[in-house]
Amino acid sequence: MIDAIPLPSREGAFEQGFWAALDEGRLAHQHCNACSRWHFPPRWRCSCGGALAYRPVSGRARLWSWTVVHAPVLPAFAPFTPYVVGIAELDEAPGLRMVGSLIVDEGDPIDRVQPDQLTIGMPLIASISRIAADVAWPSWKLA
């Protein structure tokens, strides 16, 4: 955990199932009962009009893009610059993507992974950990 990072509110609309799954150490996203599309970020209903329910995902993903963040940044992140941030595209659907830190082992700091370890399209696995006492969030382990 990093002190004083901006944290996501858990009170947003249509998010309860997302946070509840993470609290149990699982990653879940909204899935349409009618057309089987997956959605993230959370929404009221599917673009087809169908009802959505949270369903666990496999946690398998591929690296869609990444950047290396250099100073200046918010004070909480300053000790880690430069650090890599990635976007994982989940195996369940094209476009089902999440921003997250990249790691090698559970518990790694956000600046552990180096750019020369990365190739777009490489496999990733979700690794859920606490970013604050009451917020769990997936990092992405290089597979």
Partner: protein
């Protein structure tokens, strides 16, 4: 029903651009609006319409009091920061075309040169908006978000670094011909570009817009009321806005194809509103807070095929002798960063024939809003 040819941009005004300017943001707004009204030959008391960005800090009623405007019968705002410029002018134009106002002012004033004024730096302890999905992972700034798209685009279509360098150097050359530009007299080379420090790999310092104090204003009236004393009238040929389902501002990673976004919606609407097309555009002002954005816009507005904007730029396409001269006053990278409003005034100067790097026979100009926010576009043409 169409707005084509009904409304003219009759006046333009601006303050000095720079860092640490003495006047307050409110006074900068007054100075720019006053200059635009004098350019248009219109008394302040004739202004009855006002349009600005939702991010504008100066209250419209304060400006009415300060400048002696009004009474005001139309006031409105357009959201989404750098995407708002064309829509802000478009809103004023629609007010005139529908009779809700006869003389409208659109403006943008900023004191942005202090580091503390950066929007991302004011990120709160708890994120309630959509940035909750990315900022806790350390993706903090707009440049980080654009860097993600730039790397993905390079992966799909080839390395764009040479095009980004060419873009930065070309805009600096335009700025060096423009005494009002912040970077007037400060040329850069391709080597300087590559030597500039990394901010969000693959984006460097020179891929980022300036942080500017200043203000810009335009005055709009019905086409038949535009004075010709300041040159040929500049008419609104078409305008459009765009917001694609699934979009969220800047951290726009959650749609299957992020490179077909809001601009594709705005472009389709724009070209459906006019008999003109991309081949008719003589000069373009693409929103350029970050250098990859104009690549996306060049493609989406139909000037080049998807994946070929980098080659177009590297071959000199956006230079003064290129197929589509772009951001000809230096743009947000080298003239000033006023959320794109200075791109609109430069388009007007090109059509009047008074630009510092004047494109010969410029009759049609395109101005776009930020490619990675809800946005819009203005197509302007020179009246006869």
């Amino acid at each position: 029903m169409s707005i084509s040819g009904k409304v003219a941009i009759a006046g333009i005004g601006q303050t000095r651009f720079g860092k640490g300017l003495e006047p307050s943001e409110r006074e900068l707004a007054c100075l720019a609006i006053d200059a635009a009204l004098r350019d248009a030959g219109i008394e302040p008391g004739a202004v009855d319409g006002l349009s600005c960005y939702t991010m504008e800090a100066t209250a419209d009623f304060d400006l009415v009091r300060d400048l002696g405007l009004g009474p005001i019968t139309f006031f409105g705002q357009v959201g989404h920061g750098g995407g708002a410029g064309p829509g802000t002018v478009g809103l004023a134009a629609m007010a005139i075309a529908t009779g809700q106002a006869t003389t409208a002012v659109a403006w943008r004033a900023r004191k942005r040169s202090g580091a503390a004024s950066r929007v991302w730096a004011q990120s709160g302890a708890v994120l309630e908006d959509h940035w909750k999905w990315s900022r806790p992972s350390g993706l903090l700034r707009p440049v980080d978000e654009v860097a993600m798209l730039a790397r993905r685009y390079s992966h799909e279509y080839g390395n764009i670094a040479p095009a980004l360098a060419q873009f930065a150097v070309t805009l600096r050359e335009y700025a060096c011909a423009n005494p009002a530009a912040t970077m007037f007299g400060k040329p850069i080379s391709t080597a300087d570009y590559y030597a500039s420090r990394m901010i969000a790999d693959p984006l460097r310092l020179y891929d980022n817009c300036l942080e500017t104090d200043g203000a810009v204003a335009v005055v709009l009236v019905a086409a038949d009321r535009a004075s010709r004393s300041n040159g040929p009238p500049v008419l609104i040929e078409a305008l459009a806005q765009g917001m694609i389902p699934g979009h969220q501002p800047m951290a726009d990673f959650h749609r299957e194809d992020p490179f077909t976004g809001n601009s594709s919606v705005a472009a389709r609407k724009l070209w459906s509103q006019t008999a003109l097309g991309p081949d008719d555009v003589d000069v373009a002002q693409f929103y350029d807070a970050f250098s990859p954005l104009p690549l996306f816009s060049l493609e989406t507005y139909g000037f080049v095929e998807r994946g070929s904007a980098a080659r177009f730029i590297c071959e000199g396409g956006i230079g003064p002798d290129g197929a589509l001269p772009c951001n000809t006053a230096g743009g947000s990278l080298s003239e000033a960063y006023l959320h794109g409003m200075n791109l609109i005034t430069e388009a007007v100067r090109q059509l009047r024939g008074t630009a510092t790097t004047q494109i010969a026979e410029a009759r049609v100009a395109l101005v776009t809003g930020c490619d990675v926010t809800p946005n819009g576009a203005l197509l302007l043409r020179r009246g006869e």
